[in-house]
């Protein structure tokens, strides 16, 4: 029975000791420890969340980069295609203009040639005309040296004239 009879002394000292222990540990040990643990847990939590967010951000950036790259490639192709088209166009235009210019020049040359020929022909005609006139003058001079022949021609011409 002695074993289960609490001693007043031990009850008293236990109460006092436990109260002091609870006070000191509560104020100087449990509070800072629990706060530190909580804080660390929170920081780990936020760090994990941030890592997750960073991973997402990274994935997003990679996707974006890829999309940009793809777009850039498409654009480059487009630009190249356009350039090729423009090149072809320029070449064809240049050919065309060269052609027309050639034609034009040939036409002009022909016209010039024709003109020159016409001028030359007119000159030749004039010379032929003056030559033939000279020849005719000389022939006539020769034929009408004799007076009688002149008279005969006048007579003939008079005969032909009918009044």
């Amino acid at each position: 029975m002695e074993l289960v009879t609490p001693d007043i002394g031990l009850v008293f000292w236990t109460t006092v000791c436990f109260a002091i222990l609870l006070f000191i540990l509560g104020k100087f040990a449990w509070k800072p420890i629990l706060e530190a643990v909580k804080e660390r847990e929170n920081s780990i939590e936020t760090a994990l969340q941030r890592a997750e967010a960073a991973k997402d951000e990274m994935a997003r950036l990679t996707n974006e980069n890829e999309a940009l790259l793809k777009q850039a490639r498409v654009e480059r192709d487009l630009i190249l295609q356009e350039a090729r088209k423009v090149k072809d166009q320029i070449i064809s235009e240049a050919k065309e203009s060269a052609n027309t210019e050639g034609h034009r020049m040939i036409e002009m040359a022909r016209l010039e040639i024709n003109n020159q020929r016409a001028i030359a022909m007119a000159d030749v005609k004039n010379q032929v005309a003056s030559l033939s006139l000279e020849i005719a003058e000389k022939i006539l001079n020769k034929q009408f040296e004799d007076q009688k022949k002149q008279d005969e021609l006048v007579a003939q011409l008079l005969k032909e004239v009918k009044l």
């Binding site: 074993l3 002394g9 031990l10 436990f18 040990a29 449990w30």
Partner: protein, 335 residues
């Protein structure tokens, strides 16, 4: 488990010759409290270290060394009365040396258990204040050293005892639960050491478990909310009042009493079993039985190690459960 007890026991048996060894006083001496700390210089001598005796009588306080009243039966004439030890209790004696049964004396002595409690509390304070300062110094970093050994225990109390039973209100009760857990644990463990700084039986003392359970009783009932009191005084349906109200009132007290008995009985029983096994050597009076005793004692020590943690855990868990029941914001569903 105290060597001193056995040293004296052995001396007694050798002195009394053929008389059979009686383990009961040895065991009782260890399980109980005493006014001096038995200390053994191995193979040389056994010397009880005197401790202060503090008495409160109807005339006033008396303080003297326990060496004045040891060995048991020595009469010391104090300022107000004369005192002597009878069955380890300080009694007032009259001039003829007879115990005066009418005189009352309150014994607030610093006994062996009180000294051991001072010691374990000093250890707790040193350990946890240093760990706490480590937390401040290494804020936000991974735990290290002693801190990393104790943090799992602290987190265990928080995550497996407090939060499941108390919910979001756990923060307020954490200091109490942690203090109770580590106080019981360290005293259980120190009690298992057979010599200084152990060799006592504090958590197996009914006075200590009484105080711990009374603290729980007060905390539970002072924090009880209206649901808790309604549950006790207005059970459903109304015609159960005459039965339920007394039952509920008994249950208020039976819960802490169960806590008190459980811790006391478990630790004391463990100590008794181990001491009994060692006593076998003396009962048989031969050294040849000692291997058997040692094997069993080692086995029991391992179980006691488990029990030391288990009882600290159970006491804290049930405390948290009772507090949780008192502060729970539940809504009664009418069935």
């Amino acid at each position: 488990m105290s060597i001193p007890a056995f040293a004296s026991a052995q001396k007694d048996t050798t002195n009394t010759g053929d008389k059979d060894f009686d383990p009961t006083p040895v065991i009782m001496e260890h399980i109980g409290d005493s006014h001096s700390w038995p200390f053994v210089f191995p193979l040389v001598a056994e010397k009880p270290i005197p401790l202060p005796v503090i008495l409160y009588t109807d005339k006033g306080m008396e303080v003297f060394s326990s060496s004045k009243i040891t060995p048991e039966g020595t009469i010391y004439a104090g300022t107000y009365y004369s005192y002597k030890l009878e069955e380890k209790k300080v009694k007032i004696v009259d001039a003829a040396g007879k115990v005066d049964e009418n005189a009352t004396v309150y014994d607030f002595s610093i006994t062996r258990n009180v000294v051991s409690m001072f010691m374990t509390i000093a250890v707790l304070l040193i350990v946890f204040l240093s760990v706490s300062s480590t937390y401040k110094k290494r804020a936000g970093k991974a735990p290290k050293g002693l801190q990393s050994f104790l943090e799992p225990l602290i987190l265990f109390v928080r995550d497996d005892i407090a939060i499941p039973n108390l919910g979001i209100k756990y923060v307020r009760f954490m200091p109490l639960l942690l203090t109770i857990f580590f106080f019981i644990l360290i005293n259980n463990l120190f009690g298992m050491i057979p010599f200084f700084p152990g060799g006592f039986n504090l958590t197996g003392n009914i006075a200590v478990t009484l105080v711990l359970s009374m603290i729980i009783l007060f905390v539970v009932n002072l924090n009880g909310n209206k649901h808790y009191w309604k549950h006790i005084f207005m059970p459903n349906p109304w015609w159960l009042f005459p039965i339920m109200i007394p039952v509920e009132i008994v249950s208020i007290f039976s819960k802490p009493i169960a806590l008190m008995i459980r811790l006391f009985a478990n630790i004391t029983a463990g100590h008794i079993v181990i001491l009994s096994l060692i006593s076998l050597i003396f009962i048989f009076g031969t050294l040849w039985i000692s291997p058997v005793s040692i094997v069993f004692v080692v086995f029991m020590d391992m179980i006691e190690l488990l029990v030391a943690f288990l009882q600290a855990y159970i006491f804290t868990l049930l405390s948290a459960l009772f507090i949780g029941m008192a502060v729970e914001e539940h809504h009664h569903e009418v069935i």
